[in-house]
């Protein structure tokens, strides 16, 4: 069922301003079409009949605001989503990264961690896991708890296993998890190199240098101005000859930084050429 139209455009503006003043989260440069849907979806889930009720709850109940942040962000993710992308990482990018003594990878907007675990599996199979660090960050603290637990719904495993095989995986995917009724607990060793932390792409700065930054299906929720800022953040976080990977419908082509990056084949992976 479609979400109702409870909050109007001008009310969205006010809410964004109030949230910024009360909590410091800045949603003003989020793509308005998606953001409005999320707000109205929250009204439906939490049964707010009016904008006034939503606003009151958000501004006066810090615990509710945590829940609001969880619901306002989209946390739809999969392991090995777009298998050909992962095949490209496996075959083209990881052999390059293998030449570094320490491989640092940033999964920005990692949500519940499925992509970070997928990367860990790739690195294991490439024999590079012992010398890597995978940083997974998200604006939303509660999804990071799920990522930390490493427990995912069992009913997804069929899809994930198919994705894994299409990505060039040769092993039995089920060796990476232990099934327990309706959940699949992933091998502890896949977390050894995983560092999870909150990070807001809108307001936080670069915190390390990486050879690979993966940020898929996050930028679609930002307007062009914010996208450009985030591209600059990624650029500042990437070593020369490092790689930036985006979602299957996202592009660096329209960015001012585009000229400093070479696209790898027809995948949404770009290599940074020397320019700092």
């Amino acid at each position: 069922m479609l979400e109702p139209s409870i909050v109007k455009d001008n009310e969205i503006e006010h809410l964004i301003k109030d949230i910024y003043e009360s909590y410091g989260y800045d949603f003003s440069l989020y793509s308005r079409a998606s953001f409005t849907r999320r707000i109205n979806r929250i009204c439906m889930i939490d049964r707010f009949a009016s904008y006034a009720e939503l606003r009151y709850q958000v501004l006066n109940d810090a615990d509710y605001f945590k829940h609001f942040i969880e619901e306002i962000t989209v946390n739809v993710t999969e392991m090995f989503r777009d298998p050909l992308f992962f095949k490209s990482l496996r075959e083209k990018i990881l052999p390059q990264l293998g030449t570094f003594p320490l491989i640092r990878i940033w999964v920005a907007g990692c949500s519940t961690g499925e992509e970070a675990y997928s990367i860990a599996i790739l690195l294991k199979e490439a024999g590079l896991y012992h010398k890597c660090l995978i940083y997974g960050t998200d604006i939303n603290p509660s999804v990071l708890e799920t990522a930390r637990a490493g427990v995912f719904p069992m009913h997804q495993m069929k899809t994930y296993s198919e994705n894994y095989m299409l990505s060039g995986g040769k092993k039995d995917f089920s060796q990476y998890y232990t099934a327990n009724y309706d959940s699949a607990k992933f091998d502890r060793s896949l977390q050894e190199k995983l560092i999870l932390s909150t990070h807001n792409l809108v307001s936080d700065s670069s915190f390390n240098s990486f050879q690979l930054v993966i940020c898929r299906n996050v930028l679609i929720y930002f307007d062009k101005e914010l996208q450009e800022r985030v591209f600059n953040l990624f650029d500042a976080s990437l070593e020369n000859l490092g790689y930036l990977a985006l979602g299957s419908k996202e592009t660096l082509r329209f960015s001012n930084l585009g000229k400093f990056y070479h696209q790898i084949d027809d995948q949404k992976i770009w290599k940074k050429v020397d320019h700092n």
Binding site: L2, R37, D223
Partner: protein, 191 residues
């Protein structure tokens, strides 16, 4: 047929099972100088390489484009919503993709795009619902109607799978019932 004489700024077509033949037949016969864009929301399996844009391009003189993040909306072009994303309109000039939860077990969902089209293009929208096996699109058509846009529905007798058009006919006040062989003609006549 022109109930309010308004200018058409968008034709958005939703289809599911059995709609591909109708879409092929239609894109083959569209005028190349249409003064509005055509957007196709078709249920299909999520896959890495989409062949649908290439297939339609072979049949059409209008440029066929699979939408990416922030793709610009241009007249006379045929846009296809990529699988595994919902399509929204940021404004009349820019598309916006959204990877949120499935709606009616579908992503893309026809309802989501119809509604966004109705809210942005209002009475300048023509919404077309074709053959299909679920009721995705019916609720979205209501938003188009509420905003005084036009609603066309494929004649269920002509549909491979008639559930979707029948649901629409029963639940929405429509403007026109179309058969596959004259949909392009009706679109070409829009001003």
């Amino acid at each position: 047929m022109e109930t309010h004489g308004g200018k058409t700024e968008l034709v958005v077509i939703g289809g599911s099972a059995g709609s591909l033949q109708v879409i092929l037949e239609t894109v083959k016969n569209l005028n190349v100088d249409l003064s509005f864009p055509i957007v196709l929301v078709v249920h299909r399996k999520a896959q890495a390489e989409s062949i649908l844009p290439k297939l339609l391009q072979q049949f059409s003189d209008n440029e066929v484009i699979e939408i990416e993040d922030k793709t610009e909306v241009k007249n006379s072009k045929i846009y296809i919503v990529p699988s595994d994303y919902h399509l929204l309109f940021e404004n009349k000039n820019i598309f916006s993709l959204d990877g949120s939860e499935k709606m009616n077990y579908s992503r893309p969902s026809i309802d989501v795009t119809f509604r966004s089209a109705a809210e942005i293009f209002r009475q300048s929208t023509v919404g077309v619902l074709l053959s299909g096996a679920n009721s995705d699109g019916v609720e979205g058509l209501k938003y188009i109607k509420k905003n005084e846009g036009k609603i066309w529905i494929q004649d269920p007798e002509s549909a491979d799978v008639d559930y979707m058009p029948r649901q629409a006919i029963q639940n929405v006040e429509y403007d026109l019932i179309v058969k596959p062989n004259n949909l392009a003609n009706y679109i070409n006549q829009l001003k």
